[in-house]
Amino acid sequence: MIERIDQRATESINGYQIRQGKHLPFGASLIQNGINFSIYSSSGTSCTLVLFSIGKDLPLVEILIPESYKIGDVYSIIVFDINSEDLEYGYRIDGPHNPAQGHRFNKSEILMDPYARLISGRDEWGRNPNWERAYPYRARVPFDDFDWQNDRPLEINPADLVIYELHVRGFTKSNSSGVGHPGTYAGLVEKIPYLKELGINAVELMPIFEFDEFENSRINPETNEQLLNYWGYSTLGFFAPKAAFASTGKFGMQVDEFKQLVKSLHAAGIEVILDVVFNHTAEGNENGPTLSFKGLDNKTYYMLTPDGYYFNFSGTGNTLNCNNPIVRSLVLDCLRYWAAEYHIDGFRFDLASILGRDPWGTPLSNPPLLETLAYDPILSSCKLIAEAWDAGGLYQVGTFPAFGRWGEWNGKYRDCSRKFLKGDSGQIGEIAQRLQGSPDIYKQTGRSPATSINFITCHDGFTLADLVSFNQKHNEANGENNNDGNNDNLSWNCGAEGWSDDSNIKELRQKQMMNAMALLLTSRGIPMILMGDEVGRSQHGNNNAYCLDSPISWLDWKLIDSNRNLFNFTKALIHFRLEHPTLRVNSYESSNTNIINMPSCSFHGTSPWKPNWDENSRQLAWMMTSETGTNNNEVDIVYVAANMAHYASWYELPQISSSFQWMLKFNTGDINCQYHPLGISLTENGILVGERSIVIFMASKIILESTV
């Protein structure tokens, strides 16, 4: 092999051999016998590279990067013969400190590289940090030679996804999980068989970018409980996996451990979607710490008021200036990195509407960042999912600038399904839209049912068990006098607030949870299930457990046994959905032409073809049909009858071809058996659907004896 001619130092500073570096890529990159550093600052006047031996308080060396090493606004330097594994690094940037003009340079601060791919400082979850330590979160240089073998993103058809939203730590932290590495990426690997059994084919991981669980940590004065930033919606480093979610974080091996998680999930046929938080950072407002962006180029990275204060569209102190070209590049580089280097299958963008605001906060009609992501070649097969609102009042469900690519957390599905399930009047018309993939909000702009991420619960708000057990939030454990969290939960406690030993109430709650799962999993669009809802996980009425690293937030695995019925029911429903393509049709247009002459989705009432759209109606049935098979020579039909009234009603089923028969598969109103694996043939023209119950039928082809 021919030796590179640029791998020799040109000069020496403080005993270190250096030369001008490569300005791209940004960040720190391993080269043959050294490390290449590259960092951007447009308004800074000088840049000093600060190197530490790992864990040491005082720097090993500080190297002022020669001005001649700068191209444009980018400083770059190669330092030779340094040991990357024993190294932490940061920068000092000199420049004006004039907050009114947006500049907050302070060369006494050591700043973290925004492109840091490995970050030390919070290596073990909950371990009390040294608060006096200068430069608390430190950039490191990871190995990037993980052996993926033949792994690649799965590229599952979006319409076929069943997403499971989970918190990496909370999923296995409970002792009841029985895993060897509770609360970690490795712990999650151990539970892949459970996810396979459940049937989901995508996990959406709550934030795993490096964050500080001690940010805003405090003691609850009433309970003395340590409150932490458990959820992690406050990013420290966009390119680094959370070290404390890795059992090997203390050895700095979180990159390998997280990659092994992705590889293992892929091997099990499960996609990985990351919940990413680009709307703000952990630096807060003018009173917050200077960790990275503030000291590198405050005016570029943050949305600032004319007098230099921070816009707060995120509700957390600052707002990342996502449509500034520099920040746009950072976001793009970040997502490309996770897609290419970690084989990530998709991203869910927290408070994504912020990404469509201009530097002064005004919503843009064609936001460059969203367009860039939509058409990027590396991201072209990645799922892009928007939480299509922000804390500044922008609500874009149905109007999010999608560029034909973006899906949305459908908040309207959540709200309407909750109201319908608890028997509110006036919901029939809207729920009919929601369960066919919300054509009322997506069809006109040429989008499809899989645009809609359907969910009834998510991390934010009540769990499913709490949705049927509480009328009011109970967030006292958060130490904010129950003032935090949403007040409008659209929940119904079924007759008593909280825990009850009344068997009727317990039975009704169980049924309501099954109704929710039945509605969700027979709706077109992409269903998303919250961690533990399949086994009735409760947060004791807390609808905003962001700061609770405790059993309230963790999944109690004993619930699988105590709520076995609900688990089996949910599992069977997921598998039913995956077996019936008619529930996953990704078009609003009926394409049935060959062998059936029925609409793709039709609505019915207690009598077939006669839905009752009245304000007071609480009864609706729907039938979904599609032609399947390689030559569209097979037919798949599913009929669902929902009775959210407080009385039972007889539902007559639509007549279908004589070569088919209706088979009952699910009945939430049957206290003895809610799921029939083999199906029960319908012997009459209909079925009595119990109060607040849902039944699901499939049409099965009649097999004539002579053909057997």
């Binding site: 594994e85 690997v189 700095g252 091996m253």
Partner: protein
């Protein structure tokens, strides 16, 4: 780091003593390059290795690839639980045959290879 080599049951046993990290891994790599014989299986005895860093694990994997190319066996012996767990959760373990101690090695002969 201390490194020794012996032949046991037809295996060339490389005994490693001390931490394997970025500071010492160069010694191990050089030793292996200079001392491996091309026609005998290799047992890397890690009984007295208390810690192995990311760089150390990568050196093991590099050795694994090299022995594959040379068409000779490689096994790890006496890896302490903490290291084997780290190897497990980071995906390194799957590439290696592990033995508890040297006595577990099977008798090897050139003919068997």
């Amino acid at each position: 780091m201390e490194l020794n080599k012996s032949i046991v049951k037809g295996w060339q046993v490389i005994e490693v003593k001390g931490q394997v990290d970025s500071k010492t891994v160069g010694n191990l790599r050089d030793y292996l390059d200079q001392n491996i014989i091309g026609d005998l299986p290799i047992a890397l005895d890690l009984t007295e290795v208390p810690f192995m860093s990311s760089a150390g694990l990568r050196t093991l994997l590099t050795l694994n690839r090299k022995t594959q190319d040379m068409n000779i066996k490689l096994c790890l012996v006496g890896v302490i639980e903490e290291i084997s767990e780290t190897m497990n959760v980071t995906g390194f373990l799957q590439y290696f045959t592990m033995h508890h101690n040297i006595a577990d090695l099977s008798e090897e002969s050139k003919e068997n290879d």
